[in-house]
């Protein structure tokens, strides 16, 4: 079970949270102007990286607020969390802070 540092409440066990998918997938500003390919991109295409993943979580059994996390998908180690609306932290600095064991292969 993951230990997740909620930016509002501190470190809590995973079962208090609900995963909410990839972060920074912005709803198109002008939906009516979109063609089918752009809709498919927004609705369905996901980066699904083997590496750092920017994702949303909701502390549903705590403060009930959404926030963002950066997690390495090989080790599942969460390297940063930040409030919704904050800019995404830069990946290279986060990777440098990771233990090499967490990112092998």
């Amino acid at each position: 079970m993951l230990l997740i540092p909620c930016p509002h409440c501190g470190i809590r066990p995973e079962i208090e949270f609900r995963y909410a998918g990839e972060a920074h997938v912005a709803r198109p500003a002008e939906p009516a102007a979109l063609n089918d390919r752009d809709w498919a991109e927004y609705l369905y295409m996901r980066s699904n990286p083997r590496g750092l993943h920017y994702e949303r979580w909701r502390h549903v059994h705590g403060c009930a607020r959404y926030f963002n996390a950066v997690r390495h998908t090989l080790s599942d180690r969460i390297v940063a969390t930040y409030k919704a609306g904050d800019p995404r932290p830069h990946g290279d600095a986060l990777l440098a802070a990771l233990n090499p064991v967490d990112v092998r292969r």
Partner: protein
């Protein structure tokens, strides 16, 4: 080497090798160095990839084929799943492909001259709510219209088919009935990979293990020309990506974004015991599925973890939740000891149906998105994907499952049939 690797298994061969103390069995497939180039390179040496190579060679005469596997054959999801086979999917498109696979399972051991231990012991899916009953009955009617066997059982009928089942009504979610597909069952997962590998090798396919693809090269016209691997660059006129949970990673090498998310799906096995469990039982609602292997272990499927991951492991609370459900459904298993649990990385699509066919890149084909239930489709998937790669056009069973459906909106929603809680 006393015999060629393609020697057939037979009673005579068994007797001859018994007399020599079983010391002279040949290797079942070669381990060649990669050639400079192939007509078709299959990325991924699991069941689906090996089946694709086998049918390319045996049905379409394309034998200049390599299967590249980054670890060992069948070491990914092929070796990590719970080996359940069934074809009781709702929509016509799904019924066609899964039933095609089930029919191939029925003759597969003979086709491959390799015992895949297909055992049609029946797959029973339990209903615990009124909604379950309505959904399962709808599936049963849809299946029967498609010529697929599926029948409704009362709780008493379910217990008659599977005597360990608790139908007493003292459960949080009592058993209200069940849908039974008698032709469903299990097969030996390793044997499927090995049988297809042996068959493909006998037709001249090169099976190259410990060879990870690190890049896809494309020519001036955009078509694929080669794959870069940890064992050098290998030329390829066509590339078939059959990489399950790692499909997004491979496709990104060709600049193609996929509607996939990869999740850990867990399974566990108990200590081995004498035969006590006659069939496969699945429960979507309280989430557990279980069968007993021929070795005697209970093989138990758990759910997916909530988050995208490539870790091939998952949280213990997921497995614990499933064991809770098993203990309630089958009280006789409450004191069984579990020996091992593990995770496989499953590539899940938005509509829980696979993606097969051509891609926007010329010469690049993809077969992925089988999510939590790919094992059952192995022969059918390989068969129709091989036809698609060979003819450069989707096989009729493949056509509804192309990547294009996410643009056109013609999704094939099998969330109810996929069984695993997502």
């Amino acid at each position: 080497m006393l015999q060629s690797p393609v020697s057939r298994f037979s009673f005579l061969a068994l007797a001859r090798n018994a007399l020599s103390g079983h010391q002279s069995w040949p290797e079942q497939w070669r381990s060649p160095e990669p050639k400079a180039a192939y007509d078709v390179v299959i990325v991924g040496g699991g069941g689906h990839g090996l089946a694709t190579a086998y049918y390319l060679a045996s049905q379409h005469g394309i034998t200049n084929v390599a299967v590249l596997e980054k670890n060992w054959l069948g070491g990914g999801n092929t070796g990590r799943n719970t080996t359940i086979i069934r074809s009781n999917y709702l929509w016509d498109e799904s019924a066609a492909i899964y039933e095609h696979a089930l029919k191939l399972w029925e003759g597969l051991s003979r086709e491959l001259n390799y015992n895949v231990m297909y055992s049609p012991r029946g797959v029973m899916m339990l209903a615990h709510t009124v909604h379950d009953i309505q959904v399962f009955k709808r599936h049963i009617h849809a299946n029967r219209l498609n010529g697929i066997d599926n029948e409704w059982l009362t709780p008493e009928g379910a217990r008659a088919f599977c005597p360990p089942l608790n139908i007493s009504g003292n459960m949080r979610y009592p058993v209200l009935g069940a849908a039974l597909q008698r032709r469903g069952g299990t097969a030996r997962h390793d044997a499927v990979a090995w049988g297809y590998a042996r068959g493909a090798d006998a037709h001249g396919v090169d099976i190259i293990q410990n060879c990870e693809v690190t890049g896809i090269r494309r020519g001036a016209d955009g078509a694929v020309t080669a794959v870069e691997t940890t064992r050098g660059t290998i030329g390829a006129r066509k590339i078939g990506v059959v990489a399950a949970g790692h499909t997004s990673v491979i496709m990104a090498m060709a600049g193609v974004r996929m509607p996939l998310e990869s999740y850990p799906l867990q399974a566990l096995v108990s200590e081995p015991v004498k035969p006590v469990f006659p069939c496969v039982v699945m429960s979507n609602t309280i989430h557990a599925y279980i069968s007993q292997s021929d070795k005697g272990e209970l093989v138990i499927g758990a759910g997916t973890d909530a988050y995208v991951s490539y870790s091939q492991t998952g949280g213990l609370h997921i497995a614990t939740h499933t064991v809770d459900a098993i203990s309630e459904l089958f009280p006789m298993f409450r004191r069984m000891k579990m020996l091992r649990n593990w995770g496989g990385i499953v590539d899940v699509t938005p509509d829980r149906s696979p993606i097969m066919g051509l891609t926007p890149v010329k010469g690049l084909y993809v077969n992925c998105g089988w999510g939590t239930g790919g094992f059952k489709a192995t022969p059918g998937s390989g068969h129709v994907f091989a036809a698609t790669v060979a003819r450069d056009e989707p096989h009729p069973y493949v056509a509804p499952f192309t990547l294009e459906r996410f643009r056109t909106g013609r999704l094939i929603d099998e969330a109810a049939a996929a069984a695993v809680a997502h």
